[in-house]
Each structure stands twice: as C-alpha cells, then as structure tokens.
C-alpha cells in the first residue's frame, strides 16, 4: 500500500510520519510516535480511552485517520503535563483518587480538560454528561467527578489571582 505523508504538531513538536492510508490517529501516536499514554479500549468508538486534543478539542483518536490529522496540532496525555508540571486535572485525579487501574485515565483526563476549558464551573450533572463517552470500569465515576470539580475550582482560583 502506498504510504501517506503526514505532518503535524504533537505536544508542541513538529513531527512527520509516513503511514498506510488506513492508519488511525491512535495507531500512529502509539506505534509510530511511541506515545503509549493514549490507550485503545475498544473497536467501536465507545470507551474514550483514546481521547486526545486535536486543535484544542477532545477527540477520540480511534475515530480519526492519521491522514486527517495532517496539519493539525495534537496534544496527548504526555503533552498535557508531566510529573513536576502536572495539569490541574492530572493533579486532582491524583489528589482525589480519580483512578484505580489507570487505563481509562489518560482519555478521561483529556476529556475533562476539554470540559473545564470550555466551562470553568461545571455542575456534577455537566461533568457526568461531558465524560459520558469515556468508560471507567474501576471507579464508578464517583471520584472522577470529585476530581474534575476540584480541578475546576483550582483553575478558577488561579485565573482569579492571575
């Protein structure tokens, strides 16, 4: 199969990859760019484990061809924050025990970060609605909701004092 050339920005760095046309964005991120923090939990676009940001919006990267991401800016969990410079959502997931096995966590954090960027003070119902496309089998969502609320409060506080 003839390969396609994809050029894009990933976590702030310019990257160029040759991929088979059928390659999914998630496959390119995991296999070609070795960013394995983005997970694959299903094959029907149900679970959200693969959620990344494409041009600032949360997208299930298993529903996008790598070729469609040409020219975009992609942020994965690795680019959102690292130990020592965690994003408030990451920090709140840690503080509030918003994860157990951690498999859904990167996608869940990326979905939550997108919500809080658009809605700085989401209600419990809004949070539950925003992450309804992300399945967690471990936590029953209770502490995920608590973590997102906490992160939103921290981010509002930071914005107010900035």
């Amino acid at each position: 199969m003839a390969e396609l050339h994809v050029a894009l920005e990933v976590n702030g760095e310019h990257r160029e990859v040759d991929v088979e046309p059928r390659t999914l964005l998630v496959t390119m991120l995991r296999e070609d760019l070795e960013l394995t923090g983005t997970h694959v939990g299903c094959d029907t676009s149900q679970c959200g484990a693969c959620t990344v940001h494409v041009d600032g919006r949360a997208v299930k990267s298993c529903t996008v061809l790598a070729a469609q991401a040409d020219g975009t800016s992609v942020t994965t969990i690795e680019g959102l924050g690292q130990v020592g410079s965690l994003h408030p959502i990451q920090q709140a997931f840690w503080d509030k025990h918003g994860l157990q096995c951690g498999f859904c966590t990167p996608g869940m954090i990326m979905a939550a970060a997108d919500l809080v960027a658009r809605n700085p003070d989401p209600s419990e119902a809004e949070i539950r609605h925003a992450i309804a496309g992300n399945i967690c089998r471990c936590t029953g969502y209770h502490n995920i909701v608590a973590a997102v609320r906490e992160a939103a409060a921290v981010m509002r506080g930071a914005a107010a004092s900035a």
Binding site: G41, E78, C101, R128, H142
Partner: protein, 800 residues
C-alpha cells in the same frame, strides 16, 4: 520518627505514572524483532472442523507462519477446581486447547492463527484461511441443555452435565419445610455478564533458543500460577524454564485469573518462528468471546418461615451455565464460593443447596467480581424481600428478626455449609449486623419512604427502595481447608512477602500478590512503614514477575488484604527480630533489653544507647562485624496461610424511580454502610466500594450477555453491551462501622468485591419494591426500560 501512615488516606504512589501517560501495560511493550499474532475464531457456536487450508494465508504479505491446532503438541488447558474435589463428585471435564482441533463449542473459540510482521498483516491473512465446517445444532440455555433431545456437546458429559454437587443438611431442611407456617418460592435468573476490564487481555510470548527458556508477558492476576499451569500441565516444560511477567494491568475483575489458550499459543508461536517475540492483543470484540463470562445461574429457591418472618429453612436448586468448555476454576465458583454462603448474615437453621453444572454453546464462565458470592447474596436477599412481601412485614424488620446476634461469633453454620468434606471447618469470624443496618436506614431516611413514594407517584414515578444486608467472604483460603480436602484449587492458598533493607536503609518489598488497580504499591508500603518505622518514601513495593518475587497465588477473591497483609506483617516482624538481635550486638546489650520504637532500637533504661534501623542495615550489609551464627544482610521472607476467611458485611440501600410511562429506571440514591474491619487506606477502600457498587448496579440495570438460539452473541461489542456510564449513576453516600477481624493480624478483612456483592440485590429489591403497587411480585434483572415497560403493561392488563 516516621509518622504512622497505617489507616491514613495516603495518596497513591502508583498514580504519577498513570496520570502522565507513563504506565506500562501489555500493549505498550515493544521488543526487538517482535512479530504479531492474530487468531481466527469460530463463527459457529457448535461445529466440527473438517479441514483447514492455510496455503493462501501462508503466501500473504508479511506472514511468517500459520498455525492450526494439529501443529501444537500441548495438552488441553488444566481445570484446577473441580466441584467437590475429594468428596468424590464426578466432574466431566472438557477444557480448551491452544487451538481447537476437531470441533468448536462456542462462537469465538480459536481454530487457527497467523504470525506476521505487523498486527494488520496478521489480521489481513486470517481472511485467507479456509475452514471447511460441519455446523451442528447449538444450545445456549442451561435448562434447555439438560432437556431430552438437546444437542450434546461432549461424549463424556451425558445430557451436558458437568457435575451434580450439593451442600447443607437435606433432612433438616425437609423437616423445616414439612412444619413450615409459610413457604415462599421463586425462580430467579442471575443473568450472564461480561467482565470488560478497560484493558483487554494480551500476551507476548518469547522463546529463547539459546537458553531453551520461555518468557511470557501477560495481562494477568496470577503470574506465578500461570507459570505452574503452563509448565506442568499444558506445555510439559520444566517450571524453572518459564518466566511470567504481568506489567501494569488495566483492570481484571476476575477475568485475568485463568490459564488461557492464547498464552500457550503465543509461546508455541515464538518457538515456531525461531525465537522472535510474538505479541497477541485481543480486540474488544474478540474479547467478548475469548475472555471468560460471569454469573449465568437459573435458581429455584424455597423459603420456609414463621408468620413472624423468622426463616427456618432455605432450599436452593441452581443450574450453573459453564459454557462450551471449562475455564480454569469454572466449577468452583457456583459450588464452594456460592452454596456455602447462602445463609448470608442470617441464623437460618436448615439450608440445603444443589447445583448442577451445565455445558452450553457459549463462552466459558468463571469468576467475575464477587464470584459466587453475588449470586448467593442475590438469592438470600431476594428471599428476605419475598418473605417480607408475603407476610406484609417491612423488609428491614424481617432482616432484623433473622440476623445472627453479635455474640454468635465465631459462627459455625449448623447445616455444615462451612464444613469441608473432611470435617475441617470455617467460621464466620465476626459480625455486628444491626448497627450497620440502622446507620444505613437513618442515612437513607428510610422512615420517610412512604411520603416520598407518594410524592414520586404524583410525578408519574414509582419510587422503590431496596436493601441488601450482605456478607462477603474474603481470602480464598486457608490451604488446609480449601486444598487438602479438594474444595479448592487442589493447591495451597498462602501468600508471600520478602523485605530487604538495603545498605542505604532503603526498603524493597516484593510480594507474591498481583495488583490490577487496587493500589498495592501504596498499601503494602503503608503496612511496612508502620511495621518498621521507615518513611513511605524510602519503601518500594514490587510484584508481578516470577523472577524476583516469591511465589504467590495471586490477587482475586479479595484475598490480598487478608492473606497478603499477613505475609507482609510477618516478614517485617522477622526483620525487626534480626535487627533487634544485631542492635544488641552493636550496643553490647542483652537482646531482651533492646526495645523497639519505630525505627529505633534502644537499650531499656539508657535511652541514648540506640541504633536506627538504617544504621543496623548498613552494618549488617557490610558485615565487617557479625556475631557468630548471624548471617549478613537484612533480608527476610515470610509465608502466611490464614486460619480462616474474613467476613465483611454491611447494608446497602438503593432508591430508584421507575417511569410509569416509559419503564425507564433511574437510580436516584445509593447509601452504603460497610464494615471491612480496620482500613489500611480509607481512600482506597472507598474507591473499591464505589467501583464495585457501579458494577453491581450495572448488572441490575443494564448489562446482559444475550445469545440467540444459534449461539451468536448478540451483545458482542461495547455498542451492544451496556457498561455503566457516568451519566447514569449518582454519587454514592458511604459510611462505615468497624468490627476488626480477629483472623488478620491488622484486623483488616478485604473490600475488593463487597460493593459488587451488595449492590445488585439492593437495586433488584428496589425495582421490585417500586413495581409492587402494580401487583408485580418479582421481575428478573436487568431492568431495561423495555422489560419494565412490558411488565407494567401486563400488570395493568394492557398489550405488552
């Protein structure tokens, strides 16, 4: 001195890697020269394989090898937990092979495999394999499979029977029914579930021709057991030649306990292709057929009671659908882990239970979160409500009249439910059931329910409230009970821990247990910090690799907090003991005069004559001056075999609203008061409860594995199988009572399954309560809108 972290809600040390995308799960591992394996699975539920033509697949791009069952010399997979074991009950055993050879027994059984350069090439080549099938009639329902004229799956299992097992006192139970004032009977279906951890399963098999050794990375709860089973039972390879490694495991819930065909297949494939590592990762849809299912019971329950609601007898007959072949411990789940706790927290004087295991053309069934105990809890908790309903007594009051009193412990079940066939006994270790129930009733505002029902009815909603006053059994153990008499694995059930204090004073703890999200790296560090007085940041907890960790039986059945903690506490005690002896040597004192506080070893009466554990470790590691008979280094291993299981308990209360127009059910409140004894980390305990509650609610309201009559799995993807979503659940209201377990050295019991054991019955009781004003006495789960709507329509005499 380090602050005592035992019992504190310490943030998890696992989390930094998981929240930053640096976890390392099976599919994240890439090895040099790695090839990829894909498995061709049966499209038929029941068929003979006439021939397999692999020639076109072999010629496809990137293909390295094509494998069929005939190529593989291994034995069928082992079945390690026969029903009844040494009690002489016949088990008609059929287990899968690495690939099926002559016939398939369910849709999804593997029949051929391709090894290729890339995963996509392997999948592409599968389509070129030609199988000539002879389809056979299929049966998927246990009751139909036992009927005359049903399709027969296995020659050695007439009428598709796997076993007939029983427990309890038949004569006493018959007598209780003969004299009963009231008898209540009901058929209960505990439907089939699909575990669906968010990480699917996978393996990387690697054979090294240079050493003749096999290494397998597997998403497993039990690496040590898999080494034993693969070596001694499947492959015929010496055990020391196999190494099993579980990397980070993305959830399991029982589904990753077992010896699976793909494990043997990936190792065989690696050897076949000259020692290249071979990776197989199931797709989610594949997982629906290739990883075990859970539950699937049809039960007939009869309850004998007095008019005051005292239960005098319980008679249970259950058909357990075990699938097309047996999984590793399939028969143990609906027998030992089910029948033996059917009396729950109640003083029911006479109980008898019969279970028939049945083959059907469905995916194999084994332990799924709770494993037998949710099924038992469902039976006895529905039974309590049916008695309450029959007699017009409040369900909480019926429970109160039947609870074992707080002075009943240790409790020896009079029907012999907890007595193994050789007379060896287990006891319910502890309990105090009423305070937990009263607390939950108060939290839920139970006394005001009548007013709330009326208010809801005015809005077109049927409000229902349901109780589940469950008990749980933690710690599949002890060996003398579960192994020696054949009630269990036919294996021991102890756990292990090794602690090393290095020259720098830093501590490495290695465990035989295997986490899948429970936070063992945090909780065992808390325990060892408490025991040795070393700050948590100086401790690392390791696990998951048969090379470098002591043998352990793995993590399932909520056994790690009972059995595993015992091992860690003992290993720490051995470290303290040796450090104390060496401190006496260093301080030129008598060992009996050395007192230990935290990490300080002091001479009694002379508080400045002291050594820290770090100083002792340093000197003992250098070993320039060790007394005669003392070995260098602080390095101790302990094995712990508990004397008894632990029995957590509690009361869960669900409040639901059923829409009378649409049949839609909403869980509006969930209250849980659990008694899991002392807590190592209350934050983690709450998290386990939350997740368990959600899974149990999932069974009651949404999740269901559905087969058509031909054995096609209709709910075979996440599009069709409804896992709980954030939007469908409320936040949960949790509280506790604390009754320490006398069995465990820390007083802890275990919590991995409690939520899931309790919540299904609570929600089922709530929905049935909501429907009772319409004259509906019992509706089976799951309470989908369509099912509830139909029931409402028929109750109202409409067209349904």
């Amino acid at each position: 001195m380090a602050t005592d972290v035992l019992g504190a809600p310490v943030k998890r040390v696992e989390d930094p890697r998981f929240i930053s995308g640096k976890g390392r799960y099976l599919d994240d591992i890439k090895l040099p020269g790695m090839a990829h394996l894909a498995i061709l699975r049966s499209p038929y539920a029941h068929a003979n394989i006439r021939s397999i033509d692999t020639s076109a697949a072999k010629a496809a791009p990137g293909v390295v090898a094509v494998i069929t069952g005939a190529d593989i010399p291994y034995n069928p997979l082992p079945m390690a937990w026969p029903a009844g074991g040494a009690s002489g009950i016949q088990n008609n055993v059929n287990t899968p092979r690495a690939l099926a050879t002559d016939s398939v027994k369910w849709t999804g059984e593997g029949v051929a495999a391709v090894v290729a350069e890339t995963a996509a090439q392997a999948v592409d080549a599968l389509e070129l394999i030609q199988v000539e099938w002879e389809p056979l009639p299929a049966v998927t329902d246990a009751e139909k499979a036992l009927a005359d004229g049903a399709p027969q799956l296995h020659e050695n299992a007439p009428n598709n029977r796997v076993f007939d097992w029983q427990v309890g006192d038949r004569a006493a139970t018959d007598a209780a029914f003969a004299g009963a004032e009231v008898v209540v009977s009901q058929r209960l279906v505990n439907h089939r579930l699909i575990p669906n951890p968010m990480e699917v399963r996978g393996d990387i098999g690697w054979y090294n021709p240079g050493t003749d050794e096999y290494t397998i990375w597997m998403s497993s709860q039990t690496p040590h057991i898999q080494r034993l089973l693969l070596a001694a039972f499947v492959m015929g390879v010496p055990e020391q030649k196999i190494r099993c490694i579980s990397p980070d495991v993305g959830g399991a819930f029982g589904s990753k306990i077992y010896c699976y065909a793909d494990m043997a297949l990936s190792l065989f494939a690696s050897r076949l292709v000259g020692g290249r590592p071979v990776k197989w990762v199931e797709t989610r849809r594949e997982s629906f057929g290739s990883t075990i299912h859970g539950r699937d019971h049809i039960t007939y329950v009869d309850v004998a009671a007095t008019r005051q609601g005292e239960v005098k007898g319980l008679r249970v007959r259950t058909l357990a659908n075990l699938g097309g072949r047996l999984s590793t411990i399939g028969p143990g789940i609906p027998t030992t882990l089910y029948g033996r706790i059917l009396s729950g927290p109640y003083k029911i004087p006479a109980v008898h239970c019969e279970v028939t295991g049945v083959y059907t053309n469905t995916t194999f069934v084994d332990a799924y979160r709770g494993a037998g105990r949710p099924e038992a809890t469902y039976v006895v908790e529905r039974a309590m409500d049916l008695v309450a309903d029959e007699l017009g007594i409040d369900p909480a009051e019926v429970r109160r009249r039947n609870f074992l009193p707080p002075d009943a412990f240790p409790y020896d079940n009079p029907s012999g439910l907890l007595t193994a066939v050789n007379g060896s006994k287990l006891y319910i270790d502890s309990g105090n059931y009423e305070p937990a129930m009263d607390k939950a009733l108060a939290m839920a505002g139970y006394a005001d329910m009548a007013a709330r029902k009326a208010e809801a009815r005015a809005r077109g909603k049927l409000l229902g409230v349901g109780l589940s006053t469950y008990i749980e059994v933690c710690g599949v153990a002890p060996s003398k009970w579960i192994g020696a008499v054949g009630e269990g694995w036919g294996a021991a059930m102890w756990e292990s821990s090794n602690i090393k204090v290095h020259l720098t004073g830093k501590v490495v703890v290695t465990m035989g247990t295997q986490p899948q999200g429970q936070g063992h790296e945090t909780t065992f560090a808390q325990i060892v910090s408490h025991e040795l007085g070393v700050p948590m940041e100086d401790i690392v907890v390791q696990h998951s690799d048969t090379q470098g960790t002591p043998f352990g039986y793995g993590s399932y059945g909520s056994r790690t907090s009972n059995v595993g903690t015992g091992a860690a506490v003992k290993a720490a005690a051995k470290i303290r003991d040796k450090a104390r002896r060496y401190a006496a040597h260093m301080l030129e004192a008598n060992v009996d005069d050395i007192e230990v506080e935290g990490a300080e070893y002091r001479v009694k009466g002379s508080p400045d004559k002291k050594k820290t554990l770090q100083e002792i470790a340093f000197a003992l590691d250098l070993a320039f001056d060790t007394p005669p008979g003392m070995e260098p280094y602080l390095d101790e291993t302990a094995y712990h075999d508990t004397d008894n299981c632990t029995f957590p308990f509690g009361t869960h209360i669900a409040v639901v609203e059923v829409d009378e127009e649409t049949g839609n059910t909403e869980l509006v409140r969930y209250v849980a008061v659990d008694d899991v004894g002392k807590k190592i980390n209350p934050m983690i305990v709450d998290g386990q409860l939350h997740g368990g509650i959600a899974q149990g609610v999932g069974q009651a309201l949404w999740e269901e594995a559905v087969y058509d009559d031909d054995g096609q799995l209709l709910s075979g993807s996440l599009l069709d199988y409804a896992l709980p979503r954030a939007e469908w659940l409320p936040s949960f209201e949790l509280d506790e009572t604390v009754t320490p377990s006398p069995v465990n050295p820390l007083g802890v019991k275990g919590v991995g399954e409690a939520g899931c054991i309790a919540s299904t019955a609570a929600v089922a009781n709530a929905v049935n309560d909501a429907l009772s004003p319409l004259g509906i006495r019992h509706l089976d789960m799951p309470f989908t809108a369509q099912k509830v709507w139909s029931a409402i329509q028929s109750a109202k005499g409409g067209q349904a």
